[in-house]
């Protein structure tokens, strides 16, 4: 299977989960309720009740999104540059993103079950995972871009090949009107 097939697969998975959610019964206040006295403010109500009819579908939805995102990033490196180290790096980044998501979601489920949570850096634990973890887990891929830029994204040979192409085109009529 080529990367584009994986991308297609994860898109279909996201669509299937979304379809399941849209076809389920919608509890009242599923997308929040107006505050009883303060205009423009919304409240969340009973978080567990809001998930009663769709169960863990959001958890699986985000897993699908993480795989989709990584599959797309994988496509961004030319096929002939994707060596074993690159695959290991991408797999490692994916596992980290999944771990963060697992900690966030199970932390939220624990809060829904007990109504209690600790504070870390001034925020409830699951929210701290969101603010630092979710962003950080994808920042890993940004770091890969910087560190391995000359290995995978713009190697000297590609730069030379591109310069050769530009020089060649300058001596010829243009291939087509842009």
């Amino acid at each position: 299977m080529k990367p584009i097939h994986f991308v297609f697969l994860w898109l279909l998975a996201s669509a299937a989960i979304t379809g399941y959610i849209l076809m389920s019964d919608v509890p009242s206040g599923a997308a929040g309720m107006a505050h009883e006295s303060i205009a423009e403010l919304k409240v969340g109500g009973d978080g567990a009740a809001r998930l009663a009819t769709i169960g863990r579908a959001p958890f699986y939805f985000q897993i699908s999104t993480i795989f989709l995102g990584v599959s797309l990033l994988y496509m961004g490196v030319s096929e002939h540059r994707r060596d074993r180290r690159f695959r290991v790096l991408m797999a490692g980044g994916t596992v980290f993103a999944l771990f963060v998501w697992y900690k966030l979601y199970t932390g939220y489920e624990a809060y829904l079950a007990t109504g209690e949570t600790d504070l870390v850096f001034g925020f409830p634990v699951p929210t701290a995972w969101l603010l630092g973890g979710v962003w950080g887990s994808f920042f890993v891929f940004d770091l890969m871009f910087v560190v391995f830029f000359r290995d995978y994204f713009w190697p000297a040979e590609d730069e030379a090949a591109f310069e050769a192409l530009v020089a060649e085109l300058k001596t010829k009529p243009k291939a087509g009107d842009a």
Binding site: A31, G32, R50, G122, L131, W135, D142
Partner: protein, 498 residues
Amino acid sequence: MEEMRQPIILGSVLVYLLVCILVGLWAMRRTKSAGDFFVAGRGLGPVIISMAVFSSTLSGFGFVGGPGLVYATGMTSIWMAVCSALGYATGFYLVSKRIRMVAEVRDTMSLPDVVFARYGSEAARLLTAGTILLGVLGYLATQILAMALVLQTLFAGTETFAHISLFACVIISTLVLVFYCVTGGIIASVYTDLVQGIVMIISGALVVYTAANVFDGGLAEVSTILLAQGGEDIMPFGTLGTMAALTWFFLFGLGLAGQPHLVTKMMMNRRISDNRIILPMTVLGYVVAAMLWLSVGIVMRALVLGDVGMPLASADQAAPAFLTSYAHPLLAGVVFAGLFAAIMSTADSFLNIGAAAIVHDIPKSLRGRSLGSELFWARVATVGLAAVAAAFALYSFYENGELVALLGAFGWGTFAAALVPVVMIGLNWKGATPRGAVAAISASLIINFTVELMQIKVPYGISAGFLAMLTSMILFIGISLMEREKKLPADIDRVMDL
């Protein structure tokens, strides 16, 4: 110092606006051709590009709408911001290198030019230009509305202009914006982006510090107040719930690479190797500036729910009200200038790509060549576009009562759904076909506009933009997979091999 609050704030904003106008006049002398006006002659350095990309991403949507949305709904909208690391990764892994290469080998001036070069389809070029025009109107209206709301708050504190109307503020905002965009085109836009980006980073950092000190117990006290009031708002998915948050993450994280005002800037750098510096600077600049989004929103919510502050008349007043009441006058001055910076840095990009669609792309699709005297008509189109967007902003506010952030989310969704498959995937997959591109753009526009115009509420707060983007991506790949691979022009084929 406190009695000087209003003069200091107004003075800071006026100095900032003056700088923008001076940059416009300076850039006018450097703008000699349509190429200079639209893509700055592809000669910009990495610092300018990174500041331009991040400041254009954040916008009035993030600096005014974002805090408003957190005030109104809690943490839900933060998913739009934490996805930035993924969003920029997709932009730089998949688009930055290829779009810059296509721009050089085909001498392109706009995103529709790139789409035409990739697919060889005038229909795809026309639809891309049409999408940009439609999205620009919505998004530009967001920026103008945000700017006018901030201006109105500022004037409200003065004796002379205390009762200035929103209409007058829209006119003033539009005039300043138009002036430096018309005079200096994209050169003025990116150099003011540099100033704006720096102001936004400083503002973001200082506001977080201020917000964390509004309550004696810092952000922990904010969280405790909100947890005592139900708690869903300070938990990771906010009051709108899991699927609203996660579909926004999808739309904003994977949709960044389809934002024409951002990817167009990836065509303007001097060297492709600069991308190695541009990406981290962009991501880190964004993160620092975006802290304003979170900190102001939750503190204002805690103040109101904790019976410390008065409820706001409009959620969009969260940032201006916080600055007027809780920030040191000097800080308020800098941050108010930062608010204007955030708004104007995006608005000028939209005026630029919208003008390119009108005078360059649409005529090229329909009659095979762009308008004569392109530079002159680009300036005329910029004025016309700003006038229409200003009217749309007033209509949205008075007739629909739409929040700045939600109007912005619609604009973002329109671009993401239509252009992500065509640009982000299409530049990395030779099997993508023109028919797939046309179907994807058409379907996304139909879904987005149907849901918006008919005001359909999707269950669980699922974003309409997400539904449109998911559909368009599936259609794009599905249709392309069913078709025979089309032979690409030799230069594009070689670019896609690198």
